[in-house]
Amino acid sequence: MSVTTQWTSSAVATPEVAKKLSTRAFVVGLVAALGSAFGFITGAENFMQAYLVGYLFWLCVTFGCLGWLMIHYIAARGGWGLIGRRIWEAGVANFPLMFVLGLPILFNLPKLYIWARPAAVAADEHLRYVTGAWLSMSGVWGRYIGFFAIWIAMAFLLRRWSAEQDLPENEGKALPFQWVAAPGLVIFALTSTFLVVDFSMSLDPAWASSIYGLIFVASSGLACMALTVIVTATLSNYQPMATLLTRTTLHDYGKWCFAVIMLWAYFSFSQWLIIWAGNLPEEIGFFRIRLQGGWEYASLFLALFGWAVPWGLLLSQDIKKSTRTLVPIACWILFMRLFDVFWYVKPSWQASLHPGQAHLFGITPWDILLPIAIGGFWLGSFFWNLRQRPLLPLYAPFATQVLEGEHAHD
């Protein structure tokens, strides 16, 4: 090929700016956490509901990083997969953080879930049945610890082998990534489904949807891909990302956003269509509470601005190829993923804890502050992790090809 540049590990090092972004994110997170602490004193139930929304959203982003990282090792070793690798690695290294951040939920289960209130369980035969079979305290704790152990172990192995590809003596050495990634994807789909069943679907213990986990998996993939667009575009103002992020790669990330938005819409619509067509009393309640009291506008907003508008914009090739247009859309997608989690959590929480009341759409200050607080810590830790390693494993297969691309900026 053309002139082969001699790349050194210092040339692919993560830029200094990651440190600055990390500090800034931690400061924002701390300020938002202190501001929202007031909410825990004045109304712990509302606070915990907002905390659950913020936590689940950032857990989705972490899930997405694990999913894309494993897909990279199985199906996309070069190109967009290799350029995203270090970003997703920095994301999966946040699993221990997410484990700690989830503990407040487990210590406050009765504030969130009707099945964790012994008086309510004693009075309801169906609740006695589900808490006996699945939603027991020990079951929820056990699954939480077990699943996080699995995710942390997979993240640890993938990150450790990946670090070996920073060293010249390992060039061409076969590393067993796919032995974790291939079974890992199946394990990950199952474990993440069970976790959102425990944390989100169980808010309404009488209701069940078999596609619920897949909707969250699609949402995770979308949230992470949007974050990937934002992070790569931000870092492309500096070397080495300025060279790494070509228009082709940006276009690939844009295409993924487009495809996964469609996947999320497809799953969500399937859930709606099947329940709407069946019209059974034990299922339709989920949509009835979301189609009254102001929630109908939230549902319409989700369909129009979560799917139709960003999807319609992403149809255009030019929009997907320029950071100027793709980054704002990615930010919007990320916001709508948060709104989607809010839409899943809040109405069910309202209806199950306060049956017989009118459940109006409403946003508390904690609904805004807590996702920012958790996000601050998540991003602070993320950029800190990112700074620990070069942005590209220089001795990974296809690394030279990736370094010889054209420029992304126009």
Binding site: M1, W272, L315, E406
Partner: protein, 177 residues
Amino acid sequence: MSAPVYGILAEFDSPHEVISAAKRAYAEGYRKLDAYSPFPVHGLSEAIGFHKDNVSLAVLIGGIIGGLSGYGLQYWVNIFAYPINIAGRPPNSWPAFIIITFELTVLFAGLTAAIGMLAMNGLPKPYNPLFNSDRFERASRDKFFLCIESEDPKYDASGTRAFMESLQPASVSEVPY
């Protein structure tokens, strides 16, 4: 004058050479040129001045027509042609119509993409004079070709041939019709 000529064909050994040759030919002012390679060469289509075509616009229009006809068909059947009470729902029950609407959108868009691509490519092409060159069959094996067609306004038999030779190809030949 001899027999009519389709163009001048130059043969190259590597993708890198054919890209730089194509760039120089384009810079020289040649527009009716085409490149041939055994596998997709990144950057080659840009080098021969590949422009954005209207296939994507045709696909968009095809998709919209498909979606409208899918919904329209169901609307017509359920409102006018054969209204029937299904579980007490209103005749125009849009959620039930979405699947067919989606499928017809995809079908029409897909067909428009395939047909539009063929039409704008000028395919199918049962006779291509390039195969008159005995070297050209290696375009599907290990050689890279650049052809400047005689339709090009800048084309003249000796000048274009001299230009092609200045690119230092492995061979230059005239392709007869």
